[in-house]
Assembly symmetry: C3
Homo-oligomer: 427 residues x 3
């Protein structure tokens, strides 16, 4: 009889406990350790920030659900992991032990790397957490009653640029609907070397596609930008040239701003020798397993992956929905084998499939593998992407409520994209 | 009983007298003061310049028409307006008095701001007046019999770039038809900071769209250009950099050239304190009414509007067909109310809707509002734009002949664009 | 009775003997002098280089064919032409005399202009000859078993860039099929001032089209590049700026490389005063006839034409399939007239029509005339281009085997393009 603990109750963690519960005999214990009573569907946060969703529409109470499905549930959050002792200390001082551990915490949001950044300062907003998005919505409503300039973007070393683009497009769409877009100059500030880089050195010709979309929506931009500090209504950043030398200092006023932070590993694991890299991300082998502590696995944003290539301002590579799904499935297989005393044999697909919502339209990216050059590489634009993203939300929330384990990207998105691609190719 | 005089018999003025005549009781006098016996449909001038129209096809005799519709008509042109005396002196020394005045003169063409510019010098052509376009056609026929380089563009401080683009594309189309395009290198010289700026900082992604169209037609270009002088067959201009510093001096030979001038206010009003801005454009409030002389209104190209934003070489913002139409309607309403002793309450829509003809195709722009960022912002290319422009000409000439007052853009173009946009969005 | 010798048994030469044989009475002798027993369909060479064709599928034995059709055939190759004596010395020491000569040798491949370039060094590959393409395929198979960086491009003064682009796209397509594209970084190195120049200063907006295609396929590029030397697995080149000054020195490693050389005239004619220009290309008048030796005509790649315009690194203008076809037809007419004692009166169409295959798609170019500005100018992308190219190969090989004389471009490609253009224009 084994006890498997999953640390983190987000998209990765929740999928992980359901899959493990389904695959393992009843005699094995599956434990979920989150830091809240509720599951948040993170991809919907930008919609919360402009009022298209209420938090109640995209969060799910976990307590009863876990009880119903025979999963032990803790919601106090982890203070510190003790891998040598196969246990973790929770924030209330209690302790949880495990035979196998899956780390699925997501990132720590490193707002502190830029003075004045983040929702705690009240200067810039975030869509990384549903709570942040709620705060952002309050700030957005102030913008609506008193329109003025908006700055959206990402800090240096950020690795997940999609939500910044999404928020820019969604905000633009909502402001147009309210017929006040004309009173809101928008500027996009990013460490990416070009618009559409996405931490992936582009996918298909996302450079042309996104630049054109920005021009079309009159969103100005600065690339190779390192944000240095934020004060109330002012953002300062340095623009670098191609060789990484300082090109220009900028200062922009704003009445509303959403800046994505860089990601780090969470405090509970940060600095554990052999478990994490210097930024606190979990080191894993090709089977999602930590080399030093082979009973520890990791899935999702908390795993360590190398950047795509050097950029004048540091950027990281994102972990997208399909990759996370695939990591969860591989981890389930490999833990089942480990319980049976076998070696792990399943690898995740390191492919990026991503739906970026524009509010009224969207862009779908397929990058196989994630890092270029690629065997498959595709980007397409259309209203169908927006609809697909809504469908993904509905599906996933249903999955959480009904304890389903089908992978969405694998079953639905890839097929949809395949059909779409075929249609485009016929032209 | 009130006497309302409309000064100017172009697209704005002719629509204005018809609308006023229709809305006002017979006892009120409606007076039209033009500077010619004929109405010219200005947008067709580029077609005259390449022989696609004869002047007789796009001009209308006004004398009998005005008589038929009970509108007093003067064709001598105004020497000087005397707003303090509610009267104007005509070029023949006679005088016309008014209770209400609508200024709809269009611009003065400031050819004199560049040495050697304009049809009077015989060096460069113009499509601003039908007479100019006739002269341009004679020059075009010389080009056809002796092909050589062509330079098309606009002078610094120009505000209406559409006809320059149209003329470039139409000329290209006609030269291809005649199979001599291969003997005519073409160069476009403009103060705009980029191709497709249009004095509007672009509409949708007109930058990509127009640059691609220019490359496709092998029209070379220089932006940020300030034309300094023209001599017979030689044009000199300075190219500025982004910061407005001189980048390069250019000199280009040409065998045919069409350069749009900057616009100013007409002499009859220039320098009247409180009525005009320093360039002679009529100052108006949101109700088309001059603040100093509240019985004076203005519509069309002669009104003062701010530029979209600073550019390295000065540029202005254009007044497009839909704006003019909307100004006329608002003015009619407000004058009717003023006659009844009420305050004006109707505002024009400051939106740009524009059809730019390419001869074989065209681009339609929708910019609401005119100045970015915008609530609606759209550009599309297709043969249908050329056909829509021809339809607009036919409709407007019919309107003038039959004294119709329906607004064309409001009723037809916006619907057509809406349908087209829907079609594109479905893709 | 006249004896007409055609020197060269490629696409031009083989078409030439068939047309002459068909047009001339039996009493006239038609002679073909090649340097091999086999005809090679050169455009298929890139397919040979990735294994999509075997040489046997795109070559044809000439000996029996020529015998069957009453054409005298020599396959030893020409050592030296003696135009003053109306004869040529073959490589075996024998001699062939003529009354009329058509030079259709194609180019000499000037690999020697860059140290280390070309298949003889074993460093870089070529697709100019079927034998080269076979060697390239062997090298490609090594790449497949040990993937690594690829460099594709063209040397300074090259004039035929299409096959370099084709090979880049075809290689990309094949590597994707084999799912190893992710292990093969690709770089394109070209003297062209921009991607899509093609020695033609672009056709339509090939700049946007090809740049986008390169980004889409993650092929990096350097333009204005002058390759200076190649060693085993290393290529060195100088990047120039717009004004032709050195901008940067580059050195790239490769595991597989295909670099097109500059073209020169073949040794057999090089340096014959009055017959060739300094690079050995045959000087011709508008009737394909050499001014100094009026019984000598030339068709195809061996004729002298001026470059499109100066470029920072020298480039030449290509001779495309349609031009060659047209030169052959004009030459046939003019020789028939000359035999009858009349002056020549037929001119070739100096138009570029080109199908560039991408393996899974392709781009069709129409440039009339070849040098911009043009009367017709068109580029379009689609899978149909790949299919059209396959059809051209099948057709031409059938034509060679069956001694047909119909021009393919004239009869088929132009019609197809016309239909396609009409379809696009309807949008």
């Amino acid at each position: 009889m084994a006890r498997i603990v999953v640390m983190g109750a987000g998209i990765g963690g929740i999928s992980q406990v359901y899959e493990l519960r389904k695959q393992l005999r009843k005699s094995h214990e599956v434990v979920l350790v989150g830091d809240s009573e509720r599951f948040e569907f993170t991809p919907s946060n930008p919609w919360v920030a402009v009022g298209w969703r209420k938090p109640s529409q995209m969060t799910v109470d976990l307590r009863k659900l876990m009880q119903k499905h025979g999963i032990e549930f803790h919601s106090q959050g982890v203070r510190r992991l003790h891998p040598a002792g196969n246990s973790m200390e929770l924030n209330d001082g209690s302790s949880v032990s495990y035979d196998f551990l899956v780390i699925a915490t997501g990132p720590k949001l490193a707002f502190d790397e830029v003075t004045g950044l983040g929702p705690d300062t009240g200067y810039t907003q975030s869509v990384c957490k549903t709570g942040h998005a709620q705060t952002a919505f309050a700030d957005f409503e102030k913008l609506v009653s008193n329109p003025g300039p908006v700055v959206i973007g990402a800090a240096a070393s950020a690795s997940c640029f999609g939500p910044a683009y999404e928020y820019a497009f969604i905000l633009d769409t909502e402001l147009r609907k309210r017929k006040i877009r004309d009173k809101v100059p928008m500027h996009f500030v990013t460490p990416e070397p070009y618009i559409g880089h996405l931490g992936l050195d582009g996918v298909g010709d996302t450079k042309s596609l996104m630049e054109s979309e920005f021009r079309d929506r009159h969103i100005r931009w600065t690339c190779n930008a390192k944000i240095t500090s934020v004060t109330d209504g002012q953002i300062r950043f340095t623009e670098m040239d191609e060789d990484g030398k300082e090109r220009k200092q900028h200062e922009l006023p704003f009445r509303h701003s959403m800046i994505l932070p860089a990601f780090k590993g969470v405090d509970a694991v940060f600095g554990i020798d052999g478990l994490t890299n210097p930024r606190g991300f979990i080191l894993i082998d090709e089977f999602q397993r930590n080399p030093r502590f082979p009973n520890i696995y990791a899935v999702g944003v908390c795993v360590a992956i190398p950047p795509v290539g050097p950029t004048p301002v540091p950027t990281g590579a994102p972990k997208t929905g399909y990759m996370i799904e695939s990591m969860v499935t591989a981890t389930t297989h490999n833990i089942c084998r480990a319980i049976d005393g076998k070696e792990p044999d399943t690898r995740a697909t390191w492919n990026a499939v991503c739906l970026a919502d524009f509010g009224d339209s969207g862009v779908a990216f397929v990058a196989l593998p994630q890092i270029p050059p690629r065997n498959t590489n595709w980007a397409a634009r259309g209203k169908w992407v927006h609809l697909a993203k809504v469908a993904y939300e509905k599906y996933f929330l249903h999955k959480v409520r009904a304890a389903k384990t089908e992978p969405y990207y694998e079953k639905t998105v890839l097929k949809m994209l395949g059909a779409r691609r075929l249609k485009d190719a016929k032209q």
